[in-house]
């Protein structure tokens, strides 16, 4: 039994690595593309503030798990609302992950076409990226690969930060409130749902609480990176109107060329793996009620996301940006729906 326990613990850790990567990349992408252009130098603490709704929702969901004495969220919803509750949760989480995957893929393709300047239409590059993703979609392989590469990614991140740090100036933190009055509330509104992947992290493999504080550390990578960005660049440069690709390239814009390439490679690798993670997790969520997932489903979902890239990238991104602030709403909604049922059930029990 101890061998099984240690194996389960190993698989749990790889799963956690996958969720951590998804969280970190999602938070970074949303913070840089939605929050930073609006509030500039105050983006780092605005992002920290935007974590709170996600933490609150996750706390609510964990409370539901506690009330229903279950170890996983689907079981909690099944206990609280029955099979319909489980279906509802699966649909909501599946949809959120699909949106996440679509956003990640759109940003990755935009980075290729406009950021790096690769020749080829967005569709060709979508096919290329989709093809590579198809080869990478493997149930255990993807999470294990993320766990395998984690130290490399962390080392690259630390190296980039260390190279940028000498240019940091503490006084560039000020004024603390950053850009004009009206922008911070707008940025808060834009980023209010940016921490929705936290719910996956906090109700996932670490649901039992062992190592929870270490598990959520990658979540703070985005605010920390934005803080560093604020320290190395004056606020007026951070709010200059910029296209999506330019926003993603901003952190290394004034760095030496070799560091720029390292940053781009790290960005591509993490975003690539995060898109794969989102697709895989989405299909798992959608299949939870049926208890089995057909092998072709993740590939079909991925092909669907790739085909969506035939739409105009600008329009697609505008649509995704409009949807972004509302992502936490369905999750909070289902949590509030399940909460009374869970309380009543606990009282009965």
């Amino acid at each position: 039994m101890s061998q099984l326990t240690s194996r389960a613990a190993g698989e749990k850790r790889t799963r956690l690595s996958l969720l951590q990567l998804l969280c970190a990349v999602s938070l970074w992408r949303t913070a840089v593309t939605q929050v930073l252009p609006l509030c500039g130098a105050s983006a780092w603490w605005v992002t920290l503030a935007c974590l709170l709704p996600g933490i609150g929702t996750a706390a609510l969901l964990r409370w539901i798990m506690y009330l229903t004495h279950t170890d996983t969220l689907p079981e909690a919803f099944r206990a609280g609302l029955g099979k319909a509750g489980m279906w509802l949760l699966s649909a909501v989480l599946g949809a959120l992950l699909l949106v996440e995957g679509l956003s990640g893929l759109t940003v990755l393709i935009t980075l290729f076409t406009q950021g790096v300047g690769t020749r080829g239409t967005p569709f060709t590059l979508s096919l290329l990226t989709g093809g590579a993703l198809l080869l990478s979609l493997h149930r255990e392989g993807l999470s294990r690969a993320v766990h395998f590469l984690r130290w490399g990614m962390i080392a690259a991140t630390v190296l980039i930060a260390a190279c940028l740090l000498p240019d940091a100036r503490l006084d560039q933190l000020f004024p603390l409130y950053g850009v004009a009055d009206a922008s911070v509330p707008e940025a808060l509104k834009a980023g209010i749902s940016l921490a929705w992947p936290l719910t996956l992290l906090l109700t996932g493999p670490c649901a039992k609480g062992d190592g929870l504080s270490r598990a959520v550390l990658p979540v703070f990578a985005a605010p920390a990176a934005l803080l560093l960005l604020t320290l190395i660049m004056p606020g007026e440069l951070l709010t200059r109107p910029a296209a999506l690709a330019d926003l993603l390239l901003l952190p290394a814009k004034y760095a030496p060329n070799a560091l720029q390439i390292l940053y781009l490679c790290l960005l591509m690798l993490t975003m690539f793996l995060a898109v794969g993670a989102a697709v895989q997790l989405a299909t798992e969520q959608l299949c939870i009620p049926q208890k089995r997932c057909p092998g072709w489903l993740p590939h079909a979902v991925l092909i669907g996301l790739v085909l969506i890239q035939t739409a105009d990238a600008g329009t697609l991104w505008e649509l995704l940006s409009a949807v972004q602030p509302w992502l936490l709403v369905p999750l909070a909604g289902v949590a509030l729906l399940c909460l009374p049922a869970s309380i009543i059930r606990r009282k009965i029990v």
Partner: protein, 494 residues
């Protein structure tokens, strides 16, 4: 077809089965024992004629005029001096025994035959392994005799817990093989899985351990090997102690070890024979060699073609000045050079030793100074490809070295068409494929990913006294190798 008590029938069937009319190697000696007709069948070359004459025929012919005993079978066994006697109930069993070097005796009136072990094969002596040379550590390697291989391992692990289950493999032309494991240490589930796979192999003949590997692997289409092939008995013994299972095949001088992980492919006996500091250092160098082999040519091509801004300007200018007179582009040059280096490696393996030195001179001249002087190749590229090739040869496992060289070409292709970003995508895809590999169901990238409890003996070679555990591949209830400190004499408190 069961053996009957009629000697004439048995002779006819044996002659037909052995194709004696066209197969002069198959010999028969007719004689009398207990006053009955008898025949002795054997294969020339597989038996020792001396043993046959002195220890089988001579005692049997002395019983020519003896009375028929109540139990002729027992009487024959008692009469003959051989240590190993095996009965054969059917003609096919008798034929198999003849083909494996036994002398099979049929007696008129006795249903069944007896096979006496008089085997002696022409075989190679024990010599150092060709592909796994070490500085420290033993210099014995397996040879093609199954019995010798088993003996070599038994000398290292003289314990009755070392089980060697003999079986044959190959439906039409069977060959002997042995499944070796440590009882109580090897995981029973893994063992039963191996046996089930061996039972499920439907091949007419398995020529070598490499062929067996392809029939046993989880994913034969993958680039990386999921088993270990080793020529070293000490390495096989150390893997047995870790709970792995060793398969030996008669006629092959390698052992197949299952299950395996990527780290087993990177470890050598030198790491444990030397002090742990040196072992760690050598492993780090090997890992650097692996990374150089895989990434260096691709990175060179990617940086020069797509990202020259990342190169120091002096290096870049030097490259461009010499590239100005070379007719080929950097990616083409690199691919050609890698193919040439692989060609040299292959030729060096096949070339007869008498002309081996000539090959070295020719390849050095052609690929070295002549190609550079003729402006066919860039001098820096030569160094890059040479370093990458050295890196692939520094990897201890031969199969992994070839896999690296294939991966190298893929990386160069990715770097040629998509720069560093292509290589990053390739690394991501490669990492996923690596981590999705399994070896008999055990994750191939373990204990790194997924994490498994293991000895501190991955990249860092921990001191031997800290390596008190077996790997996750062994049986769960026998993980601890040593209770208490290994250096009990050391009274210093740590």
């Amino acid at each position: 077809m069961p053996i009957t008590s009629s000697i004439a029938d048995n002779r006819r069937r044996m002659d037909a089965a052995l194709h004696r009319d066209i197969n002069p190697d198959m010999k028969v000696r007719h004689f009398c024992v207990f006053g009955k007709d008898a025949s002795l069948y054997y294969a020339e070359g597989l038996c020792s004629v001396d043993f046959l004459q002195h220890y089988v025929l001579t005692p049997l012919t002395e019983l020519r005029d003896a009375a028929v005993p109540a139990d002729p079978d027992a009487a024959l066994r008692e009469a003959v001096y051989n240590a190993d006697v095996q009965p054969a109930a059917t003609v096919s069993e008798a034929v198999t025994q003849v083909m494996t070097g036994r002398a099979v005796v049929f007696v008129d009136g006795m249903s069944g035959a007896l096979g006496f072990d008089v085997r002696v094969f022409v075989r190679r002596g024990i010599s150092p392994p060709l592909t796994e040379q070490v500085v420290l550590g033993p210099h014995e390697g397996f040879n093609e005799s199954l019995r010798d291989c088993i003996t070599l391992i038994r000398r290292i692990l003289p314990t009755p817990d070392l089980i060697s289950e003999m079986r044959t493999i190959g439906s039409r032309y069977p060959v002997g093989m042995c499944v070796m494991y440590l009882h109580g240490v090897a995981d029973e589930t893994t063992l039963s899985r191996i046996k089930a796979r061996l039972d499920g192999i439907r091949a007419d003949h398995v020529l070598s351990v490499g062929a067996l590997q392809q029939l046993m692997e989880d994913r034969p289409y993958a680039l990386l090997p999921q088993c270990i092939l080793t020529e070293r008995p000490d390495r096989a013994a150390s893997m047995l102690l870790e709970g792995q299972i060793v398969l030996l095949l008669d006629g092959s001088s390698q052992a197949l070890v299952l299950p395996a992980s990527i780290w087993h492919l990177l470890h050598t006996p030198d790491d444990t024979s030397a002090r742990f500091q040196y072992g760690t250092f050598m492993r780090v160098i090997r890992l650097l060699g692996l990374l150089c082999a895989l990434l260096l040519p691709g990175l060179f091509v990617a940086f020069v073609t797509f990202h020259p801004e990342a190169l120091p300007v002096t290096l870049l200018t030097s490259i461009l000045e010499s590239q100005a007179s070379v007719p080929f582009s950097i990616p083409i040059e690199t691919l050609v050079m890698l193919v040439m280096f692989n060609l040299i490696g292959e030729a060096a393996t096949r070339v007869p030793s008498v002309v081996g030195s000539t090959l070295g001179t020719v390849s050095g001249l052609i690929l070295g100074s002549a190609a550079v002087d003729a402006h066919l190749v860039h001098p820096l590229l030569l160094i890059v490809v040479a370093v990458a090739s050295l890196g692939s040869y520094a990897v201890p496992d031969y199969s992994l070295g070839i896999a690296l060289r294939i991966g190298q070409l893929l990386m160069v292709l990715a770097g040629s068409v998509f720069g560093v970003y292509g290589m990053v995508l390739m690394i991501a895809v490669g990492a996923v494929r690596l981590c999705s590999l399994t070896s008999l169901g055990s994750p191939f990238a373990a204990p790194c990913s997924p994490p498994r409890a293991h000895n501190p003996d991955g990249v860092i070679c921990a001191p031997l006294w800290m390596q008190r555990w077996r790997t996750w591949l062994s049986a769960a209830d026998d993980r601890l190798r040593v209770c208490g400190p290994m250096r009990r004499w050391d009274r210093r408190k740590r």
